[in-house]
């Protein structure tokens, strides 16, 4: 992997002419050729269009033009981002073969920045899951140990970066779907502030929670990627108009004087190997000059419950458009209602059906106040509690995932056990605040542990600053970990 270089190194090399985008691409395509059959990170590899694109970028450099800040960087996109003329399936049978007639905003921005799209990555169907086992097209395997899951729902994107199939990838995070697989695959994963990255062209799961973000090998690459994809988009009414900061500005500053919050009432459930690394993270930040402060976030505990009302409620509405009338799968039947039922019964997997049922129930007349209404109140409480915590602390540190990567099938029989994977990531989706997972040593069986850095809205530079310090400290850690 290391010889492939980071996104920052590739872009710098291609822009200066010292690297050819075509050569960089071939290295990554070779990695795909060697291991993709085993890992299944992709639903769709775009070797031909990527080769054309890399050649065009090299030609631009030769002609004296700058292809942009991601010049020649091989990028993989979660297969719930609309790409014009390229299949976009959400790993669902109901959208198999569907080719969008338009590019999402992030896809356009990446093209304008000189990136080379190598493929569309696998996910839990419609981004519902934490292991990528819910894909209609088969699971993705963790490149670090193919007996284990890569996490999810953006498991394909996390695996693509971990396996060296792409230098940079993008996923979507509705309850932890970037941060949890990043932790399980040992890469950096960022969920930006809600509204910072346009959702135009992202197939909706839960609109008020969904946010696109990058997977990278380094924190600096994450800052580079955010610089490209963040910004106001008139096509997304929830997009934030504030000017962009320099996401790389604070990476080298260290953490001297910063207040790092420890949530004293954090829900229990993290495995000892993970908890131990998080403790160690507090220690190295203290050693680097930060102060640890204890804060309380009482509503944190209720996040999972509120999330499993709000997200399915929105999903039940967002996924109602897959009715067999206009695009995707249609199963013919005697009349329209029977056609809807047959199409949706055949097209959706069990987890998607489970959440549509949950959400429909939660919004139903007579139940709205008891479920959806109450969940919205928890969401408001959550925002208040975090606001108070951020009066005392600059950032908060938690585990990204309660455990390291786990074996296939170990949680599929018990949906609730799978839902618990997102205990620590869900609250920042409910508040719309940014969070990221940064690899910090290893745990059981030498598997990577991700530490989550949480920050107030729009404080990504500060979040990246702390993550960069953890990244530097991680290089010197004993990689053994608890067993």
């Amino acid at each position: 992997m290391a010889q492939l270089g980071t996104a920052s190194q590739i872009a710098a090399g291609v822009r200066s002419g010292s690297l050819k985008a075509a050569d960089v691409l071939e290295q990554h395509l070779a990695a795909i050729g060697a291991r993709e059959a085993e890992i299944h990170a992709f639903n769709h590899v775009m070797a031909d269009s990527a080769r054309q694109r890399a050649a065009a970028i090299d030609a631009m450099v030769v002609a004296g033009h700058d292809p942009g800040p991601l010049a020649g960087v091989p990028v993989a996109l979660k297969d719930n981002m609309c790409t014009r003329g390229v299949p976009t399936t959400c790993s669902s049978k109901i959208l198999a073969g569907w080719k969008p007639p338009y590019d999402g905003t992030v896809v356009t921005l990446l093209q304008q920045a000189g990136a080379v799209t190598v493929g569309k990555t696998n996910l839990d169907e419609f981004a519902m899951g934490s292991s990528t086992e819910n894909s209609a097209f088969g699971p993705t395997r963790n490149p670090l140990d193919t007996n284990l899951v890569p996490g999810g729902s953006s498991g394909g994107s996390a695996a693509a970066v971990a396996a060296g199939f792409a230098a940079l990838s993008f996923g979507s995070d509705t309850g932890g779907s970037i941060r949890q697989p990043a932790a399980l695959c040992g890469v950096v994963g960022v969920k930006p502030t809600y509204g910072r990255v346009s959702r135009y062209g992202l197939v909706a799961f839960a609109s008020s929670l969904d946010q696109i973000g990058p997977f990278t090998r380094t924190v600096a690459d994450a800052a580079l990627a955010l610089q490209v994809v963040c910004g106001h988009d008139p096509h997304d009414s929830t997009s934030i108009p504030d000017p962009l900061p320099d996401y790389s500005a604070l990476l080298e500053r260290g953490v001297e004087g910063l207040r790092i919050g420890r949530i004293t009432d954090l829900p229990a459930g993290a495995d000892p190997d993970v908890a131990q690394r998080v403790e160690q993270a507090f220690e190295v930040l203290t050693a680097a000059g930060a102060t640890i402060v204890d804060v309380e976030v009482p509503a944190f505990t209720y996040g999972l419950t509120a999330y499993y009302i709000i997200a399915p409620a929105e999903a039940s509405s967002n996924l109602a458009r897959y009715d067999g009338v206009r695009y995707g799968l249609r199963v013919d039947a005697s009349d329209t209602n029977a056609m809807y039922s047959a199409t949706r019964a055949a097209g959706f997997g069990d987890e998607v059906k489970r959440r549509i049922l949950l959400g429909t129930y939660a919004l139903s007349a007579g139940y709205y106040d008891a479920y959806y209404g109450k969940a919205l109140r928890i969401r408001r409480l959550m925002a208040q509690d975090f606001a108070k915590a951020y009066e005392q602390a600059d950032v908060l540190l938690t585990p990204a995932s309660p455990s390291v990567a786990f074996p296939f099938g170990s949680k599929t029989a018990d949906p609730f056990a799978m839902y618990l994977c997102d205990t620590y990531t869900i609250p920042s989706n409910l508040t719309g605040e940014p969070g990221m997972s940064v690899p910090f040593g290893t745990g059981r069986q030498g598997l990577p542990v991700g530490v989550q850095v949480l920050a107030p809205a729009l404080a990504e530079p500060l979040m990246l600053q702390v993550a960069a310090e953890l990244e530097r400290a991680a290089a010197g850690l004993d990689q053994g970990g608890a067993t």
Binding site: T88, V203, A204, D236, T238, E314, S317, Y340, L363
Partner: protein, 478 residues
């Protein structure tokens, strides 16, 4: 003066109307596709209209402004508002939810004053998107049941609508028709909609119930598919009679949605309330609340033109006619009241002008080609007694045909010369002599006896005598 309350067999009628109007925007409510009627099917579409995965709605600001115009014209309070999703499956609804306003509509608590002086409360006027259009073919007489297949046109999907919901203040079919007419006149005046019921850019649903006067509101039925102002009255009246027959037979009214059939003149059950969809409304997460600033609201209010009611009052006061007279109503409906004032400003008589406008200008639109000064010249001749009403009518027809001209010259060319008074006096003498009984009755105070005398004079003058002048002479002799 207010409309008589409709009653039958001791029941009174209670009606509330829900009127959907398509807004006259260039583009759709949430996308840049054209909002245009009559184009080739499925040409005014885009990812948002098609409900494609990943597409997001962006609110059309001008549509909000037109929505505010409607609210302000209906004396509503414009308030911060939100959008919600109304979830239901139907093939011409591409996202399987309609974006509408539920808990916080743009406009609340207004009223509409009708020409007869009655006032109908407006509960709310909210914004929402239209669905596409389904055409059911191959049997089933255009209904989905029995059709072989259905064609879907999404040109209309996403077109901006405002739904105006009245309070149940309407008490007769005539008042309901008057409400629709007055609302339509306002929408046209403020440029919010072309409000064509036959093209579906204005659609009226009626909530109808009956009760004993003073009793609690009865169970209502909602009548749909009412496609003309005339049908509004017919459908309401039919439905009221149907409900009264049921109540008198000891049956109770079930809350239903009913379909008006123009052909057989009846309403038919569409669905019972128990079968209604649960729409599972929740706040639309892809949109943010709309917070109209006081400055914006004031600017929209200031930009509103004079509304039909105020224009009727203005014209009635200038002419001395009753505000709900047919002449005032029809001239303002046609938008010819400004023209009437232009005749006045050109030195003409506005009272005579209104008579001619009502009779002869029905097809000439809001800006008649005939110069106002020419009509003014004609009315001056009438007032000066140089032309009789009948002669003036002939001259007006000529002026309209020629697109203008000198009324005096036309009158001269037609040989219209005002009779002098002495000639008339002689005719009056002859009439009194010929009809002594009528004359005695008239003198005794029976004013209608005057008709026989005037008729005699008109006949003798072959219609050329000035009726007003004759009346004056007769009264003077009395």
């Amino acid at each position: 003066m207010s409309q008589p309350t409709w009653t039958q067999d001791g029941y009174e009628l209670v009606v509330g109307l829900e009127v959907h109007v398509e807004l006259a925007t260039k583009t759709k409510l949430f996308s840049a596709s054209p909002n245009r009627f009559g184009d080739e099917p499925n040409t005014n579409i885009d990812p948002v209209t098609l409900g494609l995965p990943g597409a997001l709605p962006v609110l059309n600001k001008y549509a909000v402004e037109l929505g505010m115009r409607i609210g302000l014209a209906l004396n509503c309070t414009v308030q911060p508002c939100t959008f919600a999703r109304k979830n239901y499956f139907y093939p011409d609804m591409p996202t399987s939810y309609q974006i509408s306003q539920y808990e916080d509509p743009l406009n609340i608590d207004g009223w509409l004053d009708l020409p007869d002086g009655s006032r109908v409360g407006i509960e709310r006027a909210h914004m929402e998107q239209d669905a596409g259009k389904s055409t059911h073919v191959g049997g089933g007489e255009g209904r989905v049941h029995g059709a072989e297949h259905s064609l879907i046109d999404l040109n209309r999907a996403g077109v901006p609508l405002v739904e105006i919901v009245s309070r149940p203040d309407i008490r007769s079919p005539e008042q309901a028709r008057s409400f629709v007419n007055e609302l339509r006149a306002i929408l046209l005046t403020i440029g919010a909609s072309d409000a064509k019921m036959e093209e579906g850019s204005m659609r009226v649903d009626a909530n109808v119930s009956v009760r004993r006067p003073g009793a609690e509101l009865g169970t209502r039925c909602e009548i749909k598919n009412v496609n003309s102002v005339r049908s509004v009255g017919r459908a309401i009246e039919y439905e009221a009679r149907r409900q009264i027959l049921m109540l008198d037979a000891g049956e109770s009214i079930r809350q239903q949605t009913r379909h008006w059939d123009e052909g057989d003149g009846r309403t038919h059950t569409l669905r019972d309330k128990e079968d209604a969809d649960d729409y599972r409304y929740f706040l639309e997460p892809d949109l943010v609340p709309v917070m109209p600033s006081a400055e914006w609201i004031d600017a929209v209010r200031a930009s509103l033109p004079m509304l039909p009611a105020a224009r009727r009052t203005r014209l009635a006061e200038a002419t001395g006619l009753a505000v709900d007279s047919e002449a005032i109503g029809s001239i303002v409906d046609r938008g010819q009241d400004d023209y009437a004032f232009a005749v006045h400003d050109a030195g003409g008589d506005i009272g005579r002008a209104v008579v001619h406008l009502k009779e002869a200008f029905a097809e000439l639109g809001a800006e008649p080609a005939l110069p106002a000064a020419d009509l003014a010249g004609l009315t001056r001749l009438e007032v000066e007694g140089k032309l009789t009403a009948t002669q003036a009518k002939t001259v007006v027809a000529e002026l309209i045909e020629q697109g203008g001209g000198d009324a005096a010259a036309i009158a001269a060319a037609k040989g219209f010369e005002a009779m002098d008074t002495s000639e008339l006096e002689t005719m009056v003498d002859e009439a009194i002599a010929a009809q002594p009984d009528a004359w005695e009755k008239f003198r005794a105070g029976e004013n209608k006896a005057m008709g026989a005398l005037v008729g005699h004079i008109m006949k003798a003058s072959r219609g050329q005598a000035d009726g007003k002048l004759v009346t004056r002479i007769l009264n003077a002799r009395k």
